[in-house]
């Protein structure tokens, strides 16, 4: 009796699990899909903002098109991949009046006051194709002028597309209504549907 139960009745009872399986997949079939059709839809998620893309410059609070950067070269020297190139601004040529004043001061034996170069950089180039995203530059920056950008949709068709002029980028970000400005980016995150 036990043998019959174990070898015949139990397997027949177990057949029920086949229907349970079909019910599960059938239910999933009728459920809403979870796939996001990427170019037509994007996802709304706070977590996307913590995405660390290539670095970008942080503007001064009052004039957002000028970076906080003081051209100290800390980022460029600490970068293990050598992908950052910061150029200092040259001191402006003294105007004739200033030159005159300087000459006079020199003749009198006083301390000469040369016009000083502005601290913010003349050029800030990033070769993202070399970057390993280690974040050392962001950590080392004494004035917190660097941060990671968070555009997850960055694409390029050639190597040159990943050589960024970060100053140019900051300027265009500061302009109202620019495609990569922060506000617009946030709007894109929340509206969740763009072309």
């Amino acid at each position: 009796m036990e043998t019959i139960r174990r070898n015949i009745l139990q397997p027949i009872k177990d057949l029920w699990s086949l229907f349970v399986g079909l019910k599960v997949t059938g239910k999933f079939f009728a459920m809403k899909q979870v796939t996001v059709h990427y170019p037509r839809q994007v996802i709304e998620d706070e977590n996307l903002k913590s995405y660390a893309g290539h670095i970008e410059l942080v503007g001064k609070p009052k004039s957002p098109s000028i970076p906080k950067c003081i051209s100290c070269q800390m980022c460029a020297t600490s970068c293990p991949s050598g992908c950052i190139k910061v150029t200092r601004q040259k001191a402006p040529k003294p105007t004739p009046e200033q030159q005159k004043a300087m000459d006079e001061a020199k003749a009198k034996g006083e301390k000469v006051k040369k016009p000083t170069a502005p601290k913010n950089p003349a050029g800030f180039m990033l070769d993202y194709s070399l970057c390993s995203l280690c974040g050392t530059c962001v950590e080392v920056c004494p004035v917190k002028s660097l941060r990671f950008s968070n555009d997850i949709y960055l694409v390029g068709r050639s190597r040159d597309d990943f050589k960024f002029d970060l100053l140019e980028r900051l300027r265009s970000q500061a302009e109202p209504g620019c495609p990569v400005s922060e506000k617009k980016q946030q709007a894109r995150m929340t509206d969740g549907n763009h072309g």
Partner: protein, 323 residues
């Protein structure tokens, strides 16, 4: 006399051409349905980008397959290697000939229609064996050995189940089997032969090498089984043949158990198609639900369950007919 033969011949040629078109069309539709089903069950959209809702995807896949290089492995037996896919596909065309799609929509009415189908369906296992053997590849050979062991095993309960229907109808002619059944579901053979229907259906999965019995091509252990070495249309023919066999098996099942083209209100090919496709969708649903069985389990299901059940069904049928 000659004109009679010519008309018959012409009719047969038209039927064969129509069947070829039907097989091709079915392969496209079924591939699309299969992938859509798989997608939706896994909560994905399935193919979506080519054409509206990915409808042109199978067509593009077919074109891609045709555009690929035909490779023959170095150690392969060249003649057998290329004979196998052709041998797998060509008999399929013959299998559709006796199937009655509608009251007049039959390739050729034959007295032994079901026998013809069962006989020529056996060609497929020969083709698979040749494919696996000729490609000189151990996965191919293992796949082929499995295919043959499985096909031989599952042929028997299937035949016994068919025999049950043949007993109650007294004919092997598919058109006659259809016309003997009524229009409404309770007049179909499935009511008289519920056990036979189940045995037939399970054997059909085994015969067509469909999941959960798709061991000849078990990807996880045999890469692709018997068609490991096939590229381009060599693989394409196996693929088409597999889907064609599915359609044949479901069509036969429809004729034997589900009343064929008979249906409520108006008989016709639409009922036949609806029933066949319902069975095909069941096959797809099952494929994406159950995991693949182990080989010993596969043979145990057959020899310990299906065969005794089919025999019991046959004996019971014979008994009740004599009564």
């Amino acid at each position: 006399m000659t004109t009679f033969i010519n008309i018959q011949l012409l009719y047969l040629i038209i039927a064969l051409v129509a069947i070829m078109a039907w097989v091709g069309l079915n392969a496209l539709v079924l591939v699309y349905c299969e992938r859509k089903f798989a997608g939706h069950i896994q909560r994905r959209p399935g193919p979506f980008e080519v054409g509206p809702h990915g409808a042109l995807q199978p067509l593009i896949d077919g074109l891609k397959l045709m555009g690929k290089q035909l490779l023959t492995p170095d150690g392969a037996d060249k003649v057998l290697f290329w004979l196998a896919p052709i041998l797998s596909f060509v008999p399929v065309l013959l299998l559709f000939v006796p199937i009655p799609y509608g009251p007049v929509l039959t390739g050729m009415e034959m007295n032994l229609g079901i026998l013809l189908i069962l006989a020529f369906a056996g060609f497929n296992s020969l083709a698979l064996l040749l494919a696996g053997w000729a490609s000189n590849n151990k996965w191919g050979l293992l796949g082929a050995a499995r295919a043959v062991a499985q096909a031989v095993a599952y042929e028997i309960p299937m035949l016994l189940a068919v025999l049950g229907v043949a007993f109650i109808t007294g004919t092997l002619n598919l058109t006659e089997i259809t016309t003997m059944q009524g229009a409404w579901p309770w007049q179909w053979n499935i009511v008289l032969q519920p056990l036979g229907f189940i045995v037939f259906l399970v054997s059909a999965f085994g015969e067509t090498n469909r999941a959960p019995f798709d061991l000849p091509e078990g990807e996880s252990e045999l890469t692709a089984g018997f068609h490991t070495e096939y590229s381009s249309m060599g693989f394409g023919l196996f693929f088409m043949a597999e889907y064609a066999y599915m359609v044949v098996v479901c069509s036969v099942c429809t004729v034997l158990y589900l009343g064929g083209f008979k249906g409520p209100f108006i008989d016709g090919w639409w009922w036949f198609l609806a029933k066949t496709y319902a069975l095909l969708f069941l096959m797809i649903w099952v494929r994406w639900t159950y995991p693949r069985v182990r080989f010993d389990q596969l043979l145990n299901i057959n020899w310990k369950w299906l065969l005794p059940l089919a025999t019991f069904n046959l004996l019971a049928t014979a008994f009740f007919i004599k009564l």
